[in-house]
Amino acid sequence: MIRPHESVIVQALGYFIIPMVQIFGLYVLFFGQYGPGGGFVGGVILGTGMILSVLIFGHDASQSQIIKKVLHCDGVGLLIYAGVGGLCMIGGGEFLNYTNLEIPGLETASRRSLGIVLTQIGVAVDVAVTAVSIVFSLSAEEIIEDSING
């Protein structure tokens, strides 16, 4: 159980920093095709922003209720990734061969570019949800009670 931080400075900085971190995570995620970054790093930064929100505002704040809803997405990222592979098979090719994505009006190279974007979103969702899930597992109330009771 994480309680909200008492300091006004930390809370005010949290209101300022957390949106910046989330926007930077999205930037890293979608800029991964043109520079350093990508799905894994973008997902970790998005997850870290949510963890920071939990650490600053505590488990019971309204932001944390939204983040707890994020936990229901566990496995959705993997589903997106494998679903892109399945769409490639439906298009008549091998698993995860993005040239077989059946989207009219796109060149072969553009299809592969689109496949890279979709799978990166899948990796980012998976990593972000896993990071938040591990933090919620570690800070669950039961562990602290267990360690006190022996």
């Binding site: 095709q33 350093p36 553009s110 890279i116 570690l138």
Partner: protein, 175 residues
């Protein structure tokens, strides 16, 4: 080839790694490990592996430190101080020998940036030449990870998913 600005970075790496092992307080060890990851990220950025440096900075210095600290705060405070026995004489003999052996073996490694090294003559020239025409992706690392080696990345995603599930199963005991 070792660049001059890397020597202080490597020294800092050695100091922080030794400090993380030798320090008595576990919280100090966690913070030293975070600074170790940060210096390692700087070394990788200096060598040109910016993607790896990014991952190391974000995961090693950011997320890993938070997870270690949460684990420490989840355990009782009496657990955070360590008492270590001094290393045995056998350890003091074997590990320097191992280090000398590894340094001897490192002589046979190709030079940094050698165009004729085995790693850069097999298939990476194909990736470097074809990546933009094939996938419209200027960052070759992303196109290799997500397109040419996509199945590997999918199984890595499965590993991350499985680790989250395992943590939830082990740590959340509601009964």
């Amino acid at each position: 080839m070792i660049f001059s600005y890397e020597i202080p970075l490597l020294l800092l790496l050695l100091i922080t790694a030794a400090g993380a092992i030798l320090v008595k307080d576990l919280i100090s060890a966690v913070l030293l490990l975070g600074s170790y990851s940060f210096f390692l990220a700087l070394v990788w950025a200096g060598l040109g592996a910016v993607d790896v440096a990014f991952v190391e900075a974000v995961v090693g210095a950011g997320l890993g430190t938070v997870l270690f600290l949460l684990t420490l705060f989840g355990t009782a405070p009496k657990d955070t101080r360590l008492r270590r026995p001094p290393p045995s004489a056998l350890t003091l003999i074997i590990f320097p020998l191992l280090g000398v052996l590894l340094l001897y073996a490192a002589n046979d490694l190709p030079e940094f940036g050698d165009p004729n090294s085995p790693a850069s003559v097999h298939i990476s020239p194909t990736y470097l030449e074809q990546s933009y025409q094939d996938t419209l992706t200027p960052n070759v690392v992303t196109s290799v990870l997500m397109d040419y080696r996509s199945l590997d990345t999918m199984v890595e995603t499965v590993v991350i998913f499985a680790s989250g599930i395992a943590c939830a199963l082990l740590l959340r005991r509601h009964s």
